[in-house]
């Protein structure tokens, strides 16, 4: 009895000492949950935790980016210290700058130098480095290599070519008995994703970027109206009737189950589509998005950054985790495992990365089109909501593009008021 008690005492003492030695702090990180994001985030943070002796809690956040932004703002406005690290969208450093610490003191000059300088500039607000770039994004066109061959279709260079090819393949597949087959899926739900998709249609047709760099509302033009009417005319024809409720994951669901010929999505869908169990494994091609008449093909700039909350109780440790996650090693791993686009330009020449994601070499030199988030500052949320609502009305057949864009111009000027 006493021997047993003695044994228990020694054991608990040992355990207590073990804990004391491994004593670290707990860092909470809010990670995205689209596709493999959450899984990878857990893996990577666990590796850092094992190395440094700290603990990491990974918080799952809403899938739609505007819901996520809303959740962040609630936390930050309340001054909550529950979350140390926030994964923020490329459009939000300006809005959230006041709530984040300056990361400059924590990152070495070399670590900054290897990053994409355009994104670093985007994340620097008033001389303060609000967030470190984690991965970048640009819209791309996915296609089915097997079906392109089967129907003798070339990779479309213009939107008209895309819709014609989509129709041809859809007709053929339906005749062959696949009743649920559709030509083209994209993000048509009324949310930030539609802003990205529609900006690509319009910018690639020479219709501008909604609001130009000087802050002038430019959306009400004939080129923008023409391409919106064209896309709207394709719904039910080559796009599913409910494409106006699709987000990234719903579009991927249809494409990956083998029910669509073309898809507009971000690069993350590539490695998922090539995983075991995917109906289109090994049959996925990726190309730049088509262009409109007289325009050039562009993808909307997306991507995510990591920022440390100024309410964090352990900003130094949190900044170290940010450094680790945005560093070369983790970015390379994420590119290979999840086809997330690195923000370190060098990695686009890395042999291992290119082997896993061959189309990255085509993306290296491309100049994506940015949403007007810098010029509109904190009002960007309203601007984007007004834009996607107008586009959504056109897509659902409730109004013609010319009328919708005229009304949108008025609304945007009203939001602008005396200035952005």
């Amino acid at each position: 009895m006493t021997a047993k008690r003695w044994f228990v005492f020694v054991l608990s003492l040992g355990l207590a000492m073990g804990f004391a030695l491994a004593q670290g702090v707990t860092i909470t990180i809010a990670c995205g949950a689209v596709g493999q994001e959450l899984e990878l985030c857990k893996e990577e943070t666990a590796a850092w935790a094992a190395k440094t002796g700290n603990k990491v809690t990974v918080l799952e956040t809403p899938q739609l980016t505007n819901d996520r932004q809303g959740f962040y703002q609630q936390q930050l406005a309340a001054g909550s210290s529950d979350i140390d690290i926030y994964q923020i969208d490329v459009i939000y450093p300006g809005t959230l700058a006041n709530f984040m610490i300056d990361l400059k003191p924590y990152v070495s000059a070399d670590e900054l130098k290897v990053q994409n300088q355009g994104i670093i500039a985007n994340n620097t607000v008033g001389g303060k480095l609000v967030a470190m770039p984690w991965f970048t994004d640009g819209g791309v066109l996915y296609y089915r290599t097997d079906l392109m061959k089967k129907y003798g279709v070339a990779v479309p260079k213009t939107w008209t070519e895309l819709f014609a090819a989509a129709k041809k393949i859809q007709d053929g597949e339906r005749k062959a008995g696949k009743k649920d087959f559709y030509g083209f899926v994209f993000q048509g739900n009324a949310y930030e994703g539609l802003t990205c998709d529609a900006l690509e249609w319009i910018a690639s047709s020479g219709g501008g970027t909604i609001i130009d760099a000087s802050g002038k509302v430019t959306i009400n033009n004939a080129k923008a109206a023409a391409i919106l009417d064209l896309v709207a005319s394709q719904i039910k024809l080559v796009s599913p009737p409910a494409v106006t409720t699709y987000d990234e994951e719903k579009a991927r669901g249809v494409f990956q189950s083998g029910n669509a010929a073309f898809m507009r999505n971000w690069p993350y869908a590539y490695s998922l589509g090539n995983q075991e169990g995917s109906a289109v494994k090994g049959k996925i091609g990726v190309a730049p998005l088509p262009a409109g008449p007289g325009g050039s093909n562009v993808g909307t700039l997306g991507g995510w950054q990591l920022a440390v909350s100024k309410f964090s109780k352990n900003p130094k440790v949190a900044a170290d985790l940010v450094r680790y996650l945005t560093g070369r090693e983790v970015q390379k791993e994420r590119a290979i495992k999840g086809s997330f686009q690195p923000t370190i330009p060098d990695l686009y020449k890395d042999a291992d990365v290119l082997k896993a994601v061959p189309f990255f070499k085509d993306l290296a030199g491309r100049q994506p089109v940015a949403r007007p988030s810098t010029v509109t500052g904190p009002k960007y949320g309203e601007v984007s909501a007004a834009f996607w609502s107008a586009v959504h009305d056109v897509l659902s057949g409730k109004s013609k593009a010319a009328a919708a864009l005229a009304a949108l111009e008025k609304k945007l000027n009203q939001i602008k008021g005396s200035g952005w």
Binding site: Q73, Y182, Y191, A242, T245
Partner: protein, 328 residues
């Protein structure tokens, strides 16, 4: 004379005065709680509605008078939200009442396993709305969803319908077209969009059991001997229903209507989950959340919150005065 007496009776130390003091003491906790959880938030909301407060600049709001309310009157999205909410509330509450009454009558009759059925119908009500809304939006999905699959197999529809996407098509037009009664949409038909109808269907599915339960309680309070007397007098089932059941059930129906209408006017979760902030189905509460949470407009969002409060009060006043409900 009388007032004199009252003053005398309330003299300090008298029984009445002591009783009164005890009464106030006993009421004090309740009054404090109400001040804390109802009056103070309401005061803060009204205060913010008169400022330009923003979550991005905590504590830096400026007083701007009624500017937010003037803007509200011209805000097209707000009025769309009011219309959507009223359409949603009136339609869903009406359907829930009719269906709920039917279910209650069935459950009130004698049959085997009645207890089991009564418990089972409550399942939709027991599932959290967020979960059931997400479940339904998957079922409504156009290509992979089960609703289209079943309807196609039963030949109820001829082609896939984007249930949550068809905000430009009316549900009556869709039904008539699929019954081959019309070939082209009839624009003048008083109609609700397919999308709104799909959302209403989810709410009806979820809330009918609750309504049925409330009405069942009302039915059970009607004494059996009244029916017996009616049978002796030779009144048929239909006559019994309209002459006995319905009049005696009126208080229960009115309470249910008030409960449900006030609840429906605040609708948030089912629309937020299924359609987010799409203008086609946006409700007053969904719009307010967008203003407050996504646009950071604490000032204008508070003005909208006050307006929602007013709209709901209007409905409450209409109900209470038109039905002369007595709450005692």
């Amino acid at each position: 004379m009388g007032t004199n007496k009252a003053r005398q009776a309330r003299a300090p130390g008298s029984l009445l005065a002591r009783r009164e003091r005890t009464a106030w003491l006993l009421l004090l906790p309740a009054i404090l709680v109400i001040l804390l959880v109802a009056a103070y938030p309401l005061y803060r909301t009204i205060y913010f509605s008169l400022t330009d407060a923003s979550y991005l600049r905590p504590g830096e709001e400026k007083f701007i008078g009624l500017e937010n309310y003037v803007f509200l009157l011209q805000d097209a999205t707000w009025w769309t939200a009011v219309r959507n909410t009223v359409v949603f509330s009136v339609t869903s509450v009406l359907l829930e009442l009719l269906l709920g009454l039917g279910v209650a009558l069935i459950l009130n009759s004698q049959f085997r396993a009645r207890g089991l059925v009564r418990a089972a119908i409550l399942i939709p009500w027991a599932i959290p709305t967020v979960v059931s809304s997400q479940m339904w939006s998957w079922m409504y999905q156009d290509v992979l969803g089960v609703v289209n699959d079943i309807f196609l197999r039963l030949h109820l529809i001829s082609e896939r319908v984007g249930w949550l996407a068809a905000s430009g098509t009316g549900i009556l037009n869709l039904i008539l077209k699929n019954l081959n009664i019309i070939s082209e949409p009839v624009p003048w038909l008083p109609d609700i969009s397919v999308t709104m109808a799909s959302i209403i269907a989810v709410d009806v599915w979820k809330t009918t059991p609750f309504v049925a339960l409330l009405l069942l309680a009302g039915l059970q309070s009607i004494p059996d001997d009244i029916y017996e007397a009616a049978r002796v007098d030779g009144a048929g089932a239909l006559r019994q229903f309209f002459r006995i059941t319905l009049p005696l059930l009126k208080p229960a129906i009115l309470i249910t209507l008030i409960f449900r209408t006030l609840d429906a006017l605040r609708v948030f979760d089912v629309i937020q989950v299924m359609k987010s902030t799409d203008i086609a189905t946006i409700s007053m509460s969904v719009y307010d959340r967008q203003l407050l949470v996504e646009f950071n407009k604490l000032g204008y969002g508070s003005a909208v919150a006050v307006a929602i409060f007013l709209v709901i009060s209007v409905f409450t006043v209409i109900y209470i005065t038109s039905s002369r409900v007595r709450f005692d």
